[in-house]
Symmetry: C2
Subunit: 330 residues, 2 copies
């Protein structure tokens, strides 16, 4: 900290106040101190930080969305575990761009939290390195292929369960409605889509590229993608949707077109959204709340110096309801 104070040309007390986000520092001075700290990659040793009273008993939870079922559900699990351990939850909705840069730059420098739980978005290597250098622990939930401890489902396996169900019913002309998320655009691997494209080769499915639709994540886009599939010369006999919300949109298009599931077309989703049971949607169930609980537990274990599992993968299972069946005999 002395180096930072010297380089910024201010007292140690001012530097400490600026880094700890306390009042009594002019905004321009605060920014200068933070900038110098960033340049110096100001390191706080966790031990020194605890000795100097630096443990905040706060965990930052970083999410790309708040209004989708998945994120609310994972927050329920995280909240229950953190509260049980006497930690407070600081919530950060971080999209792409400036928001995100600002989050990963300023949070650790200001020592606002002891740990970071990243949900549903991958942190880049640079971001991860920054947090590690600052002595801030990081755990991920709901994603995968992260270079830090992670709790997730096997997205590839979930996709495979869904497509296998359709193939085993006798479907060969199968479509997928895949989703892209503009708030997590550099997500490295799309496991569910990969399972679909692999199954097309391995299980001798119709390779027509028009059967693979990729749309922004929403029920409305699911409905539009389904309309595009129904406008093909030969529509698919079955559809795998990236998530239940997309599948619910697709079901509506099917009904609006006067068609029936599963008589005319089968639909399977992934998630087991709370409305899926009422809509009788066949899906692959994941336990999202448990992912939140386990990820929070993993982070607290790390803060306590206990061994952490590097990657916990929760099982998914096919839930067969009323939207899937054998294809109609031509």
């Amino acid at each position: 900290m002395a180096d930072v104070a010297r380089a910024a040309g201010v007292s140690m007390a001012t530097t400490s106040r600026a880094l700890n986000d306390q009042p009594g520092v002019a905004p321009a001075t605060r920014e200068r101190v933070l900038e110098v700290a960033r340049q110096h990659a100001y390191v706080v040793s966790p031990a020194a930080s605890t000795l100097s009273g630096g443990a905040t008993r706060r965990i930052a939870v970083v999410v790309p969305h708040l209004s989708r079922w998945f994120f609310g559900e994972v927050l329920e699990g995280i909240d229950a575990t953190l509260r049980g351990a006497g930690y407070d939850l600081m919530l950060y909705r971080v999209g792409e761009g400036a928001d995100r840069d600002s989050f990963f730059e300023l949070l650790p420098a200001r020592r606002k939290v002891d740990g970071v739980l990243v949900v549903g978005i991958p942190a880049s290597e640079a971001e991860q390195e920054r947090l590690t250098t600052m002595g801030v622990q990081i755990v991920a939930a709901g994603g995968q292929v992260a270079p830090y401890p992670t709790v997730s489902i096997d997205d590839h396996g979930a996709g495979r369960q869904a497509v296998n169900h359709l193939v085993n019913l006798g479907h060969r002309r199968i479509a997928m409605i895949d989703a892209i998320d503009p708030n997590a655009s550099h997500w490295p691997v799309a496991g569910r889509a990969l399972a679909f494209t692999e199954a097309r080769e391995e299980r001798d499915l119709d390779p027509d590229p028009e059967l693979f639709q990729r749309v922004p994540w929403s029920a409305r886009h699911g409905a539009e993608a389904m309309a595009a599939l129904l406008a093909l010369d030969e529509p698919p006999t079955a559809v795998l949707a990236h998530s239940d919300e997309l599948a619910i949109g697709a079901l509506h298009t099917i009904r609006r077109a006067g068609l029936d599931t599963p008589r005319d077309i089968s639909v399977v989703g992934i998630d087991d959204h709370p409305l899926s049971e009422e809509l009788d949607l066949t899906t692959v169930r994941q336990d999202v709340r448990e992912q939140g609980r386990l990820a929070a537990r993993m982070l607290l274990d790390g803060l306590a110096g206990l061994d952490q599992a590097p990657w916990t993968v929760l099982p998914t299972r096919l839930v067969i309801r009323g939207t899937t069946g054998r294809p109609r005999q031509g």
Copy 2:
């Protein structure tokens, strides 16, 4: 603070650390200090707190649920406004009972936040008084009849819009599926249900008490209530659901029974849930995100010493889609 230190038999420094939730205090000592502070109704003047560096730039957001659409959506609005103003969001999921008592007792005593935003649950008068005594500002969103500044819709008006739509189509045997929330059981007024019972009298509707179903809040319970209505000697020709999620459950029961909306029965919800458009559900739309934004703005204005509106009521509007129509001619 000197009184608290004297009564607890500890130093001022220890008292300060205990109240500010900093380390270096034995758990038993901390509890004793907090207990004494509670007994003394330890008052922090906001001005003194700021002078002594006490402004935390943190806001507590208190919700009874995280995994429901409404609460995620309101959090989106709150988050955007707080982040824009440089405040951090501390999230507390608080149900009934011990959780809740602990929240309202400990949070202000520990000076963790500058203000509290209560979403979708009423704070009791005792709880509100406690926060006020501690110098913590409080604002409510998504509720009403609160004794502090509040942003909400007019629940009674929304219910009236929904039931009027059914009456104006010619329905007279109208049912309501009302929802109770175990996490907010002492909610004082059920505006939507009140609008329904008033309309029954004023607009000459069938007063059969079996047409009023009250169930726990979920799509599944909406489906079950609808089944109970279909099992009456004379089922209703139209149903008003307390929320879209209950309406979606009801729609599924109707479809499963081989009936059709609106030919056999009309259904109207309240909310405009993101899936409602895809399910073609007639509903009364509320702007939930805007309620979050305005409530956060109101709280920040209060902290800045600006005038606050005591109660902001956002408009709702009927969105007519495919699940409502004229009753079948006998």
